[in-house]
């Protein structure tokens, strides 16, 4: 509460009120950042899961996931090459 002297607030009181307000705002922000689990439990678990993924043999598991796709893509490329060899020549006219 800002005290008034002759109907006007004193400078020191105004400054203190502003300071208190800024401090309260900073505290609120700091608490939100420091306690994300309470602020958004689901986001927090998701963030932890992603951190876990990147810290848990990430490249090894990524390679394991990519490899089957890569091998089939190589088979597809091979099929395209073989087709080119056995197909007709000289009539590859663009539409």
């Amino acid at each position: 509460m800002i005290e008034r002297q002759h109907g006007r607030p004193t400078v020191s009181r105004v400054r203190k009120a502003r300071w208190d307000s800024a401090l309260a705002w900073a505290w609120t922000l700091a608490l939100l950042e420091a306690r994300p689990a309470q602020a958004c439990p689901d986001c927090w678990v998701g963030r932890r899961a992603r951190q876990w993924v990147f810290g848990d043999h990430f490249l090894h598991y990524l390679m394991a996931a990519v490899l089957p796709f890569l091998l089939v893509a190589a088979l597809s490329a091979l099929a395209g090459t073989l087709g080119r060899e056995t197909g007709p020549r000289g009539d590859q006219v663009k539409r």
Partner: protein, 161 residues
Amino acid sequence: MKLANRGPVISAGILLGCGLGAFVDGILLHQLLQWHNMLSSVHAPVDLLSMKYNMVWDGAFHALAWFVTVLGVWRLWRAGKRSDVSWSTPTLVGAALLGWGAFNFVEGLIDHQLLGLHHVHPGAHELTWDLAFLGLGVLQTALGGVIMGLGSGDYRAPHSS
């Protein structure tokens, strides 16, 4: 009329079959039936954190499936612009089935048998399920090859315009 070039359509079909087959795996076995997740034999999804961990890896799997599907569509689009390429339904369908089967077989061999990242249906008879999945892959590949053979005599006249 000349014997058409089937290579580009086969190549596109294999990619499409692989991508769409991976989507069937992810949607049916990971999400709807919830038999397994990408790393469910490494970290079983028994609480929210491990469930979300597996969810991230399932997302990576679906992202790869999406990428391969887009690549297949692109290949097919390019094939459609060529005059010498056979626009044959048995060739495309057979190649797609072959791609799906090849993916199931390779994925089953690497992720289920060699690395043990997950199993088709974990539990008492997981090996039986895994072997059946491999067998399904071989069957799809063979059937795809047979269907592709039906389109081997396709002809296509070069475009006049």
